[in-house]
């Protein structure tokens, strides 16, 4: 405001690129007022007035019905009772509300004057006088406080103001711990049995027939006192048995499967949804959230969708009793990508 020197700039109301037509067609002014039926005829006016009253009466009836419904339709263990309560109470209140609303609007439209009125509108900026006074006040405040003059005070204030929010930001530090290496490890370790989700029953290799899919958790997860969901969120695994002829395995992973049984992390490498849609014939795993598709026969590489990395494989084998066990933890972090992975 005070920056501009030329008074012309202060009055810059130019149209810019607008073409100001010299021969603009004249504004004929407001359209003449159309008289309504309710203004012309007493009969219509009376009818409208009755309609408005009827609306308000209907509203009162609706509200009364809602109170009745509250008591008359109590909740029981039956879902139908909840439905009745919701619908009837709700419809009563609906009538109570709509009656008032429609009645009031109808009243305004038919019985209140409908002459359009024009009111002048002023420019948003203050008048020259007001603006001059505003500048004067700012200058006065400046000179009285010495804000511009006392550079040292001003700069030290800026410094103080810049620093004062920092402790507040620090206070958020204890919202959560440093993630450390928690994202790199799961509950799986050498010898942990693969168990059925949610029962925790261990799985024998012979139980896993071709074409079947097991949703797997580490044995002992259900017994955890703390962080059960956090561990499950990382350790969930999908177990599938393929015809060994179908599997394309790299040399180093040849020992990670057992007789065609492979175990892959169920947590999507995109943003972490459970990738659980297994198609028995195509051997594709589909994520229902964002449609990333992984090929189970080919190390769970991404064949479609926004994910980039294959699902991590859990190396498995069997123990002496024939139960499937993990050879180790996953060899890479499971789940979505993060900076340091």
């Amino acid at each position: 405001m005070s920056k501009t020197n030329s008074p012309d700039a202060e009055h810059d109301y130019s149209g810019g690129l607008a073409v100001i037509a010299a021969d603009k067609i004249q504004d004929p002014g407001l359209e003449p007022h159309r008289v309504r039926m309710t203004d012309k005829s007493k009969k219509h006016e009376k009818a409208a007035s009755r309609q408005v009253t009827a609306m308000f009466v209907a509203s009162a009836i609706g509200s009364a019905f809602a109170i009745y419904a509250y008591f008359a339709f109590p909740l029981t263990d039956d879902l139908g009772s909840v439905r009745n309560n919701t619908v009837l109470l709700g419809l009563g209140i609906t009538l109570g509300l709509l009656g008032i609303g429609i009645g009031a609007v109808h009243w305004a439209k038919t019985l209140m004057p409908d002459n359009e009125v024009s009111e002048p509108r002023h420019q948003t900026r203050g008048s020259e006088e007001v603006r001059a006074r505003a500048i004067e006040i700012i200058k006065l405040a400046d000179s009285e406080s010495g804000f511009s003059r006392r550079k040292l005070i001003r700069r030290s204030l800026y410094g103080a103001l810049a620093l004062f929010p920092l402790p507040a930001i620090m206070l958020f530090g204890d919202l959560g711990p440093n993630p450390g290496d928690t994202l790199r490890h799961t509950m799986w370790k050498k010898g942990t049995r693969l168990a059925k989700d949610p029962t925790g029953t261990p799985i024998k290799a012979s139980d896993v027939t071709i074409g079947s899919v097991f949703h797997v958790i580490p044995e002992g997860l259900a017994d955890l006192e703390h962080h059960k969901l956090e561990e499950k969120a990382k350790a969930a695994v999908l177990l599938v048995r393929l015809d060994p002829a179908d599997i394309k395995e790299s040399e180093e992973r040849k020992t990670w499967s057992y007789d065609g049984i492979v175990a892959y992390s169920k947590i999507c490498t995109h943003v972490g949804c459970p990738v659980a849609l297994y198609e028995q014939h195509t051997h594709h795993l589909l994520c229902p959230c964002h449609q990333s598709t992984f090929d189970v026969t080919d190390a769970c590489k991404v064949v479609f969708g926004p994910a980039s990395r294959p699902l991590p494989q859990l190396p498995i084998t069997v123990d002496a009793e024939g139960y499937l066990i993990a050879q180790s933890d996953f060899t890479e972090p499971v789940g979505p990508s993060f900076w340091e992975r």
């Binding site: 067609i25 407001l30 359209e31 879902l79 439209k109 024009s118 009111e119 509108r121």
Partner: protein, 545 residues
């Protein structure tokens, strides 16, 4: 009211009015605002719908806080809903079930709350579209556009924090997606996730934290911004549509009291009533179907509420194998790119008024709205934006589109990717051409009148259709607009053509190269002159008959 004070001394109303005036100066307020003029048009009420939905949200939300418990401590459910009896779940989820099945009207209030949340953001979105397509964001309302934009974003924030509170399977998987997105942010991702969830996902704190945001911070901010938004409407006074008698220096409409008090007050009850009607009859978010959150399962059709859909769609539409690992760090472009697209889109929306103002250089105040056709490029940009948003939005429903229309999921997703890029371009050109055609038609009508459908044969055998001249009021509506002409890049005071000037000149060509000017008085008279001879001929014909 001040009349009443004088007229009925001693009445109860007068007594109250006097009491209030002597203590809060109510007479002055009424004098100032009581007969303030508001223009009337259906499209001006969309913002009101959002405002009223927000009031309904406050009312129903307060009711829900009396029963909801935002704790994630596991409990064994022993409530009324059969298929969850004996299941382990969080207190938050159990209390949501109790609200639904054991509090009379509780399910109704949950449904009112959720439906009005969807309506709040939808009405705000539609209101923004109205403001955009009519150019209501132009000077002096650019800042109010920003305030409204902030409200829209706050609406999304309020919605998302609320969506996550019941701690059911659906919302839990939604939070997990958020966690995955946060982890993908370079450098700070893993730390931010840990701070938000109080450790590893899902933790036991997130619901309580979101609850604090949802019932305190977000609604408080929304209230503050609504106050600013409305305050600015009072300062600017409402815009009105172009038409006879509507000018930049006046406002035409009905007085606040009594007409608008009745209409707007009544409209609150109507909006509330419609929400109540929907809530009473249509299920929303049946959390009991999803079960408590468990990180292992997921349900087909896991989607966010509609207003977050465009971000979810952006995530789905990212091409495969975008992630880059270099120098020991991971750039998750499959997450970053969608985030940039989503945030970038919102940024363009927020800044659009300033971009257009810079291109046109128009410093005048505008209180008369544009008809969309009279700003063809802006309308076309809007249509392109809507198409872009719609493609992202539909991207979030690829699986449902595939199953319901019997198509291949993969093809639907690929089509959406193509539509996201090609759709806006096509929409731009079609809309622009459409606007220009409509403008040409307006010119035709102004110059030659409306087609009357009456065919007459002239004496020399020619057939003509008689055109009826327009009423002056109708005509004015068709000619009351300004057009802009493109500019050249001009050197500045130092004699240099800056990059900015070049860009601005280029943009002005992009905006205004194809322009149609309103009919002027001279042109109109020339056309009438022609018509006069035509009508003469007709009169002649009638005489000869």
């Amino acid at each position: 009211m001040s009349n009443a004070v004088q007229a009925k001394k001693g009445g109860f109303l007068a007594g109250t009015a006097n009491y209030l005036d002597e203590r809060v100066g109510v007479a002055g307020i009424l004098k100032e605002f009581g007969r303030k003029i508001f223009p009337d048009h259906w499209s001006f009420m969309l913002g009101e719908v959002a405002l009223y939905s927000f009031l309904v949200l406050l009312l129903s939300g307060t009711f829900l806080t009396f029963f909801f418990q935002p704790a994630m401590t596991p409990v064994i459910y022993d409530g009324a809903y059969g298929p969850l009896k004996g299941a382990e779940m969080s207190i938050a989820y159990a209390s949501t079930l109790d609200i639904s099945f054991e509090v009379r009207g509780g399910l109704l209030m949950r449904q009112v709350h959720h439906w009005s949340a969807l309506l709040f953001v939808a009405a705000a979105g539609l209101h923004m579209l109205r403001v955009f397509f009519t150019g209501a964001f132009r000077k002096p309302r650019e800042i109010n556009w920003l305030v409204g934009f902030v409200l829209f974003v706050l609406g999304m924030a309020g919605g998302f924090t609320g969506y996550s509170l019941p701690d059911d399977l659906l919302s839990g998987n939604g939070l997990r997606i958020i966690d995955g997105m946060i982890k993908g942010i370079p450098v700070i991702g893993a730390y931010t996730s840990s701070l938000l969830f109080g450790g590893e996902f899902p933790g036991e704190t997130i619901v309580a934290r979101l609850y604090g945001l949802h019932i305190l911070l977000v609604p408080a901010l929304i209230l503050v911004f609504i106050v600013i938004h409305l305050f600015m409407v009072v300062i600017h006074k409402h815009t009105h549509y172009s038409g006879a008698g509507k000018r930049d220096d006046n406002v035409v409409g009905y007085p606040l009291m009594p007409v608008y008090v009745a209409k707007a007050g009544g409209f609150f009850f109507i909006v509330f009533g419609v929400i109540m009607l929907i809530a009473a009859t249509i299920t929303i978010n049946p959390v009991w179907n999803y079960g408590g959150y468990d990180p292992s399962p997921v349900s087909a059709g896991t989607q966010p509420d509609w207003y977050i859909g465009f971000l979810d769609g952006a995530l789905r539409l990212a091409p495969t194998h975008l992630e880059v690992t270099a120098g020991g760090v991971t750039w998750a472009w499959n997450i970053l790119l969608p985030m940039i697209v989503g945030v970038g889109f919102l940024a363009v929306v927020a800044l659009y008024p300033f971009i257009e103002a810079w291109v046109t250089g128009d410093k005048r105040e505008h209180h008369v709205l544009d008809r969309p056709r009279n700003a063809p490029t802006r309308t076309a940009i809007g249509a392109a934006g809507v198409t872009f948003y719609a493609a992202l939005w539909a991207g979030a429903a690829t699986d449902l589109i595939a199953t319901n229309f019997k198509m291949s999921l993969n093809q639907v997703l690929t089509s959406m990717q193509i539509l996201l890029i090609v759709g806006p371009i096509i929409a731009f050109f079609i809309t622009k051409r459409l606007c220009l055609s409509l403008q040409r038609k307006d010119r035709e009508i102004v110059l030659h009148g409306r087609e009357s459908g009456r065919i007459v044969r002239l004496p020399h055998g020619e057939y003509i259709e008689v055109h009826e001249p327009l009423d002056a009021h109708d005509m004015y509506k068709l000619v009351d607009f300004a057009d802009y002409k493109p500019t050249l890049a001009r050197p500045n005071a130092k004699g240099k053509i800056t990059v900015g000037a070049r860009v601005r000149a280029g943009l002005s060509r992009f905006y205004f190269e194809d322009r149609i000017s309103p009919v002027g008085q001279i042109e109109l008279e020339a056309a009438h002159h022609d018509h006069a001879s035509e009508l003469d001929a007709e009169a002649h014909k009638e005489l000869t008959n």
